[in-house]
Amino acid sequence: MDNDDDQVVKKFMYMNRKAPYGTIYALESLEVVLIAAAFDQDVSLVFADDGVYQLTNSQSTDDIGMKNFSPTYSALGDYDIKKIYIEKESLDERGLTLEDLQALTYEDEDDDWAEKDSIHLVSREELAEVIDQQDVVFSF
């Protein structure tokens, strides 16, 4: 990412900690992330606690009258958002593994547009270090 003198690039982290339905936080957080992508900042997403449910496969909202917005996450790579951290303990505590979550990838322009994995599975301790490196942390 270019960082010349008149353009500030900060590390922005969006922390998703709530289930996708039941409250509007997950949906409105995703709306912030997609807008933020236009600002050429260094963006990371975290899914922890019940937030890991936001990425589960095969979501169906037909019976609750809400929009299933989970397919939108697969577009994150196109928005140049390629650092997605998932907390391992949160998966373990809920009986989930990465297999239960949708794959998220991006195309690496520095490597002949090879498709690469955006997801980083991190421990709670490792996540704390990543949070520590951020300039701005939004928690939703």
Binding site: K10, E31, A38, F39, Q41, V136, V137, F138, F140
Partner: protein, 130 residues
């Protein structure tokens, strides 16, 4: 220090907006700059002009409004979050064919870019939520 503030909860149900208000006021009183207060999620309900709390209770939207009037603090309601929840200024009401509007003086409606800008401009962005 230059602060940005994000308020994610509405008045009364959660303490978050009270805490945000007290923090903002304290920061200004101590001589810090508050670049912007951005209201998102149910936080947009802090900007209603139609709240009528009991007389022996604090009036949260009025408190924010006074803060803008006295100190020129930029209070911004997210347009998408506000529209969902029926918080409209005169322009938005007109644009959406509504007959009334309900944003209290001192607040303005704008987009999420204003939140990101606050994150870029401020030395610290403080989030008040649940």
């Amino acid at each position: 220090m230059k602060y940005g503030i994000l308020v994610n909860e509405g008045p009364y149900t959660h303490q978050a907006s009270d805490s945000a208000y007290k923090f903002t006021k304290a920061a200004i009183d101590k001589g810090h700059e508050v670049f912007r207060v951005f209201f998102y999620h149910d936080g947009v309900n802090n900007g209603t002009s139609l709240a009528v709390p009991p007389q022996d209770d604090r009036h949260i939207p009025d408190q924010w409004s006074a803060l803008a009037k006295d100190h020129g603090v930029d209070l911004v309601l997210c347009v998408a979050a506000a529209q969902r929840r029926g918080i409209l200024d005169e322009d938005e009401a007109k644009r959406n064919g509504k007959t009334s509007h309900n944003v209290i003086e001192g607040f303005r409606i704008s987009g999420l870019g204003q939140l990101i800008e606050a994150g870029i401009q401020a030395d610290r962005l403080v989030v008040f939520g649940d």
